[in-house]
């Protein structure tokens, strides 16, 4: 059938535009100690943060690229040609009226202010290196919830910030967490007081507008005892001719009995290297849940993790990856059981289209002395074309007895007969593909908040529309 030889055109029209740059603060091209000092000066970092950055830089230089297990494509990143800090040099605004016109138009085109009015408890919008807008609904703020950019968090809430910053993900965790530690800027700082349940999601939107740029946001979310919060992030960038780098670090801390749900819909342009470290710490009876959808980027390497440190803590990763021509989605999950009666669940679904490649890497670790821990891992791959590729690398180390682990994996293919059957009912080839793919992810998407499942289905449709010739 046609589906085996199709050319793929990706429709990313929604995010593929940019406005001329108007940056006042610019750290220049390339990375050196001078870059670090420039960023620390502009951001008026306290000394311990400046020190931290310098240690990050040193570690970044010391660590090799992980190409012995990861994609050689990483070598295409030229760290000397990237711009590490760009900002308009103003504080984030509390109302959209105050946001400069071009930037405001950008977020309006992406529909952010409208979503804020409709269903969000707070929004932060980052443009290149810094947040340009940050606001929380009054009622939510009055409950003591803090939702600001990382710079404001550091400045105005130093005691909470410093206590947890870098504790879940140390500088030397990997080369890219070290890079982020050196040049981090932007991202969210959230603190939810004990017992407060934030009803609507808080959302951050990350936008890259500049060429040859690297975005390094740093997010820290602390849910105090018995509190609950949902955080959603979205991202887009125009497609420039040169590769763009996005390398974030996200740390979540769920204290006793708290629940954090972190949702990502990643739709970077197909020239973005998306190398992100995400990890949550769950104390006794706490829950950390990652919902991670990767649609865009050239290469994504991201394995959201949960360290279940307290008894009865729970960790969950629900992951959907869609790899089209020229894309490699190298995603997965890590579950580190570090207390008795901890439970983790990983469900991963990947779709490879054209020459796209999806890789699942999973790590489940249950040490010998623990009792009554449970893990369930399911990873399913769907191949659309004969040229599509999928790989699975599950690593499950469970020592001791009295722990239960369950692992299921499947690879399936959309068959020509299936597409013909749907076409015979009147669906075009693209609609038929799109419906098959939606069917494949449906049971997972049903668990997402409604707004996000709608957005995700729409993105999948857009991808499939371009994917048949």
């Amino acid at each position: 059938m046609k589906t085996d030889t199709s050319a793929v055109n990706i429709d990313r029209s929604k995010g593929d535009f940019f406005y001329p740059e108007a940056h006042v603060r610019d750290a220049g091209i390339g990375l050196s100690e001078r870059t670090i000092h420039y960023i620390a000066d502009v951001k008026e970092d306290p000394d311990w943060v400046r020190e931290y950055r310098l240690r990050g830089l040193k570690t970044f230089w010391e660590k090799p690229l992980p190409t012995h297990w990861a994609s050689k494509d990483l070598e295409a990143i030229d760290f000397d040609k990237i711009r590490y800090y760009l900002s308009p040099g103003t504080e984030p605004k509390r109302s959209w009226e105050e946001v400069p016109d071009d930037i405001k138009r950008t977020f309006e085109r992406l529909g952010i202010p409208e979503q804020e009015r409709k269903f969000l408890a707070g929004v932060e919008a980052q443009f290149d290196s810094e947040a340009v807008y940050s606001n929380i609904k009054k009622a939510v703020g009055e409950q003591g919830v803090i939702f600001v950019g990382s710079r404001e968090g550091l400045k105005n809430y130093p005691e909470i910030f410093r206590k947890w910053f870098g504790k879940v993900i140390p500088i030397a965790d990997n080369k890219f967490s070290a890079l982020n530690s050196a040049v981090f800027s932007g991202g969210s700082f959230i603190y939810v007081p004990p017992g407060v349940k934030v009803k609507h999601p808080l959302q951050a939107y990350f936008r890259i507008n500049a060429e040859n740029f690297g975005q390094f946001e740093r997010t820290l979310i602390i849910a105090d005892e018995g509190s609950e919060v949902t955080y959603m992030e979205g991202c887009t960038a125009p497609k420039f001719n040169t590769p763009t780098l996005h390398s974030a670090v996200v740390e979540l801390v769920a204290l006793k009995g708290a629940k954090i749900q972190y949702i990502t819909v990643q739709n970077w342009a197909s020239n973005v290297f998306n190398l992100v470290t995400k990890r949550g710490l769950a104390q006794e009876n706490a829950e950390v849940k990652w919902i991670d959808c990767n649609i865009g980027s050239r290469l994504t390497m991201k394995y959201p993790s949960v360290i279940m440190k307290g008894r009865k803590a729970r960790g969950e990763v629900l992951s959907i990856a869609l790899a089209n021509d020229g894309q490699h989605q190298d995603t997965g999950a890590k579950m580190i059981h570090a207390a008795d009666e901890t439970t983790s669940n990983i469900i991963s679904k990947s779709i490879s289209i054209g020459k796209g490649r999806a890789t699942y890497r999973g790590l489940v670790h249950v040490p010998k002395h623990l009792k009554h821990c449970k893990n369930n891992t399911e990873c399913d791959a769907l191949l659309i074309n004969a040229t599509s590729r999928t790989d699975t690398y599950p690593a499950i180390t469970v020592r001791g007895t009295g722990n239960a682990v369950q692992h299921e994996a499947s690879v399936s293919q959309v068959s020509a007969e299936q597409i013909f059957y749907m076409q015979q009912r009147g669906l075009s080839e693209a609609q038929a593909m799109s419906l098959s793919v939606n069917g494949f992810v449906n049971d997972l998407v049903r668990q997402f908040p409604m707004e996000y499942s709608v957005e995700l289905k729409r993105l999948i449709e857009l991808e499939m529309e371009g994917s048949v010739g």
């Binding site: 046609k2 399936s412 076409q423 009912r425 009147g426 609609q431 419906l435 494949f440």
Partner: protein, 255 residues
């Protein structure tokens, strides 16, 4: 012309010619049964009409209401009013019957027009009632884990909801026990009417006891060797396909 018309059709798979000069007209409002032994080319004809890409039409024409069917993609044929009930329907994991049919109906609307959800469900439930199907059926994934009988009933439900002008039922009776056969036949009979032409492809006369055709055609060796009224099916049942084959030879001599 409100008919599905096949003229001198030749079809090959690879080097092998399977349909060899077949002619047939199915006007709206009539039921034509096409009978034949295994390997006679019946199912190939059905797939060619629907536009399956594995088959190559080497000669001949097919018209749907005067329009050249063979120039159209499979989905365009469907939207022009051609429906095929599959002998072996595909499974579509994760897609419910309700969502599938909704997407199929939506594909028939002009761009920008949205199917009205309440009207759609009203229609869906009405047709299910007509076919004696339970409503909970609609939330099951299309054909996934269905029994043979459930698959065939689902095909007929789709036929009922999509309301085509012409329906090709490819061995809809195969694999059904007598109760399931009766249910399916009842469904088809309830859809008969002046706006629908049906081509009923079957190996056995048995189905024709329940869906009584207006005309019967016997296909042997890639072409139609005998045509007649419904009594032909009974005669065929009595005398067998060898008799029909002799007919083919006779007609070849007398041509």
């Amino acid at each position: 012309m409100k008919e599905l018309a096949v003229e001198n059709l030749h079809v090959a798979v690879g080097d092998q010619e399977i349909v060899r000069g077949l002619g047939l007209r199915v006007p709206r409002g009539q039921v034509h049964a096409l009978m034949g032994p295994n390997g006679s080319g019946k199912s190939t004809l059905a797939k060619v009409l629907a536009g399956h890409p594995d088959y190559r039409v080497t000669a001949g024409k097919v018209w749907i209401d005067g329009e050249n069917l063979l120039e159209l993609d499979p989905d365009e044929r469907a939207r022009r009013g051609l429906f095929m009930a599959f002998q072996y329907p595909s499974e579509i994991p994760g897609v419910t019957i309700a969502n599938f049919l909704r997407a199929a109906l939506q594909s028939r609307l002009p761009e920008g027009e949205e199917l009205e959800a309440t009207d759609y469900y009203a229609k869906l439930y009405e047709k299910m009632e007509l076919l004696g199907m339970d409503r909970s059926f609609t939330s099951r994934s299309v054909n996934e884990g269905f029994s043979g009988g459930e698959k065939k009933r689902t095909e007929i439900l789709q036929l009922a909801v999509l309301e085509p002008s012409y329906a090709v039922l490819d061995e809809t009776d195969s694999g059904l026990d007598i109760d399931a056969l009766k249910t399916v036949a009842h469904g088809v009979n309830s859809l008969r009417g002046p706006d629908l032409g049906i081509l009923l492809i079957t190996h056995y006369q048995r189905l024709l006891n329940y869906i009584v055709p207006d005309y019967v055609h016997v296909m042997v060796g890639g072409r139609i060797v005998r045509s007649g009224r419904k009594e032909l099916a009974l005669e065929l049942e009595e005398r067998g396909y060898d008799w029909a084959r002799e007919g083919a030879l006779e007609s070849a001599y007398t041509r």
